[in-house]
């Protein structure tokens, strides 16, 4: 798997405020790469820096082996960018916006017409070609914005929180669109703070916290790095979980058991034998299963855990620094 973008030791600050600290990332082609993080973690700054909008203080950004600092225009040519603000001219029609941004991206006029028709169909705006952008609905405006980012047929599409402020149906549409774009061999980089959405969509994810990449890799890899256990989430009719806990406590394959409100969660390295044990025990007790799930830990849990760890390390470092200062 070839790395389309390589980011090495990237640091960016605004005045004294360091927004990105020593960021290292490899983004493979053609995948959907997600950057997740809390608000203010530096996601948008990272995206704007890797497209050359912000000059960075230190580090290196390479696109297909070319240095961003030296080949800025080439890189602008192969990258499309859509923000959460819908960067289009409200007083221009859908077609006019696409024509304008296509021309700015040096698309030859002969090719441009075909590209416009293609992206309009692609984002499903055929019926609104001659409508002013300001008269489009929120979802349509977002699709137009993505269309503008795609009109020059970029190899890499960067989307900054593309589903932000959209209702669930529109959000689903946009996610489907992103998948469709990726199917056309376009690398997609998205940011989101909706972890579930990122987990569903992305091949690779980087977790960004306070300007630092805590971890990155495939969702499975991230979860594995957190824990290799599977989770059995069980709700029974009688909710008499103490017997079950007692039964499973000493089993080798069970790492942990938690009682969480109406349910119990059993963490195990192998779910199948534990499941059969549970079923037989419930039968014996004449209890009934209301709900049972076998799942890996969610990205949210991984994210939460990593952030806690990072904050803990920082607090520890801070305390140690304070102690050293006191000494």
């Amino acid at each position: 798997m070839e790395n389309q973008i390589e980011i090495k030791n990237l640091t960016k600050s605004f005045g004294s405020h360091v927004v990105l600290k020593d960021v290292n990332l490899n983004i493979p082609s053609p995948k959907i790469f997600g950057i997740i993080g809390e608000s203010g973690s530096g996601k948008t700054t990272l995206l704007k820096t890797i497209i050359g909008f912000w000059h960075f203080d230190n580090g290196q950004i390479m696109y297909e082996g070319r240095n961003l600092e030296k080949d800025r225009n080439f890189i602008k040519q192969i990258v499309g960018f859509a923000t959460q603000d819908n960067c289009v001219y409200p007083k221009l029609t859908v077609k006019e916006n696409l024509e304008y941004f296509g021309s700015l991206s040096n698309v030859p006029s002969g090719t441009l017409k075909g590209n416009i028709e293609k992206v309009i169909r692609f984002v499903n705006l055929q019926d609104s070609t001659n409508k002013l952008a300001e008269n489009l609905s929120g979802g349509m405006q977002r699709r137009l914005d993505i269309a503008c980012a795609l009109v020059h047929n970029p190899k890499i599409l960067i989307l900054d929180e593309p589903t932000e402020d959209l209702d669930p149906l529109l959000r689903r549409d946009i996610l489907n669109l992103i998948r469709k774009i990726n199917l056309n061999e376009t690398t997609v980089i998205i940011t989101s703070h909706l972890l579930h959405e990122a987990e569903q969509l992305c091949d690779n994810i980087a977790i960004l916290h306070q300007g630092c990449v805590l971890k990155y890799g495939s969702p499975e890899h991230l979860k594995d790095s957190y824990t290799k256990d599977e989770e059995i989430h069980l709700i029974t009719k009688n909710k008499n979980y103490d017997k079950l806990i007692k039964l499973l406590k000493n089993k080798q394959k069970v790492s942990n058991i938690e009682k969480l409100g109406r349910k119990i969660v059993i963490y195990t390295k192998e779910a199948e034998p534990i499941l059969s044990l549970l079923l037989s025990e419930l039968k014996k007790e004449k209890d009934r299963i209301i709900q049972i799930d076998v799942r890996r830990p969610s990205l949210g849990e991984v994210f939460e855990n990593l952030i806690k760890k990072s904050d803990g390390v920082k607090k520890g470092e801070q305390a140690s620094n304070n102690n050293q200062e006191k000494l």
């Binding site: 605004f14 040519q77 603000d85 289009v88």
Partner: protein, 513 residues
């Protein structure tokens, strides 16, 4: 009430915390008033340049020039009449005074001092005309007083001479009386002589009668004869005495007459001198004495209506405000547009965006000006000759103002402040031009700065082309100033664009957009 105060407080805080808004909205008008108030707090005209020409400067023309020259007026002698008049057209001189060769006050002189003014500078021309005319009138009054003085002193001199000769005349009158009595005495003596002669004739007749009777008369005859002879002797003596008297009187008369002749000669000499002196007065023409220096005011433009004179300024006002506002708003709208970011990340250089903004604005304004010029052509078809020059000038002028407006747009961060900024800038440029109050009312040092005011420079170019039908070459100096401005503005835009975009993007970033 409390809510109202809270809202007002909030509004003030928002205004003041946005530095550019506060600067423009609150302090801008104050600064404007301060500037204008300081500059125009005067009632005089300063640094009026007067062009002067004469083929041969006489003492009188030099004296008028000296009279004109003071701290307000600066008189510059030109090489030719055309240079002088063209100087007014091109704004080098405020007016041009043409003196006739060897100007002097003389009998029946038709010499006129011609004063050429630029009638199109309506707010200045009347003040200058009146000021210059009053200075020339003052010299004229001096000359008039001099001429009248000569006449009056001549009259006084004559009166004095006549007074002196009055005694001689009285003595002549008295002497004439003496001559009369002497002549009367002569007449009386002559009558006596006549009577004596008559008596003598009678006695001779008697003697002749006695002679006829002598043959028969003896003693009585002799006696009678003797009486007659005696009587004749008496008469002869009387006659002799009268003749002596006449002779004496005649000699006296001759002496008197000789004396009178001297007196009359004296009077004649005095009279001749008076006549000579009166003849010596060079100017006796009443018109020349009352108004010795005649001036005539001429305009360097053909006589037109006020709107004709205002036309270049009107074009300038339209061009300036439209250019400043349009370009500032175009830039700020683009900056505030959500699409601004996409432009920025496209593989298109900043220069192209700046240049496109400039071209967009110039196309709109040139189109507007073209409409105005077409209308003007219908009113003044003779303008067609200068249309090309005018087009070129308008293009340069518009470019400078558009670039200035773009700077305003790049400097400010909201449409409101950019608009107020552009209007304020335009107002300052307009205030410090000849449109409202003549610049000549400004103190010299301020005027020197204001002479480089974009509006003033541009207005001068348009006036030269439209009103005086000058070729574009005659405005080269002003055009070079505009070209320098253009170059400076381009550099400024490049710097401000980079800096303001960076700052603006950081602001947006910090706002989370």
């Amino acid at each position: 009430m409390n809510k109202l105060l809270t809202i007002i407080k909030k509004n003030f805080k928002i205004l003041i915390r946005s530095k550019s808004s506060a600067l423009i909205i609150i302090f801008g008008p104050l600064l404007l008033i301060l500037l204008v108030g300081t500059a125009f707090n005067t009632a005089s005209l300063y640094d009026i340049k007067v062009g002067a020409y004469s083929e041969t400067y006489s003492e009188l023309s030099e004296s008028i020039i000296t009279k004109l020259q003071d701290e307000q007026y600066k008189v510059i002698k030109t090489d030719s009449q055309d240079n002088c008049i063209n100087g007014v057209k091109s704004g080098i001189y405020h007016l041009c005074v043409i003196f006739p060769p060897n100007l002097e006050i003389k009998e029946g002189s038709e010499d006129l001092i011609e004063i050429y003014v630029d009638q199109s500078r309506m707010n200045l021309v009347y003040a200058i005309k009146s000021s210059i005319t009053s200075k020339v009138s003052s010299r004229s009054k001096e000359i008039s007083t001099g001429l009248t003085g000569i006449i009056i002193s001549q009259l006084e001199e004559s009166a004095k001479s006549l007074e002196e000769k009055k005694a001689t005349l009285s003595s002549l009158r008295a002497s004439t009386g003496n001559i009369g009595s002497k002549i009367n005495s002569l007449v009386s003596t002559s009558k006596d002589i006549g009577e004596s002669i008559n008596t003598t004739y009678d006695e001779l007749a008697q003697l002749e009668e006695l002679n006829l009777k002598q043959q028969n008369v003896s003693g009585s005859y002799y006696k009678g004869m003797k009486i007659l002879i005696e009587a004749l002797k008496v008469e002869m003596r009387l006659f002799n005495s009268s003749t002596s008297t006449i002779s004496q009187n005649s000699e006296n008369l001759l002496t008197d007459i000789a004396s009178y002749t001297d007196n009359i000669r004296d009077i004649e000499t005095t009279t001749s001198k008076i006549i000579q002196d009166v003849n010596a007065i060079q100017v006796k023409d009443v018109e020349s004495i009352v108004s010795p220096i005649k001036t005539e005011t001429k305009t360097v433009t053909a006589e037109r209506t006020h709107i004709n004179y205002l036309f270049p300024t009107l074009i300038m006002i339209v061009v300036m405000f439209v250019s400043l506002l349009l370009s500032a708003i175009t830039v700020i709208r683009e900056k505030l547009s959500p699409a601004y970011f996409r432009n920025f990340i496209s593989p298109t250089g900043s220069f192209l965006f700046i240049f496109a903004t400039y071209l967009t604005n110039i196309l709109i304004i040139v189109l507007q000006v073209a409409i105005v010029l077409v209308v003007m052509l219908f009113i003044q078809p003779e303008m067609s000759n200068t249309l090309l020059n005018l087009g070129a000038a308008v293009l340069i002028i518009t470019s400078v103002f558009i670039l200035l407006g773009m700077i305003v747009g790049y400097l400010f961060s909201s449409e409101e402040t950019a608009t107020v900024g552009a209007i304020s800038l335009g107002t300052i440029l307009l205030f410090f031009s000849n449109t409202i109050i003549p610049l000549e009312t400004l103190p010299a040092w301020i005027k020197q700065i204001v002479d480089y005011n974009l509006f003033v420079v541009s207005d001068n170019i348009l006036r030269a082309l439209i009103l005086f039908k000058q070729p574009l070459e005659s405005t080269l100096q002003q055009i070079y100033i505009l070209i320098t401005y253009t170059a400076v503005f381009i550099v400024l835009i490049a710097i401000i664009y980079k800096a303001s975009t960076e700052i603006y993007n950081i602001k947006r970033h910090l706002k989370g957009k």
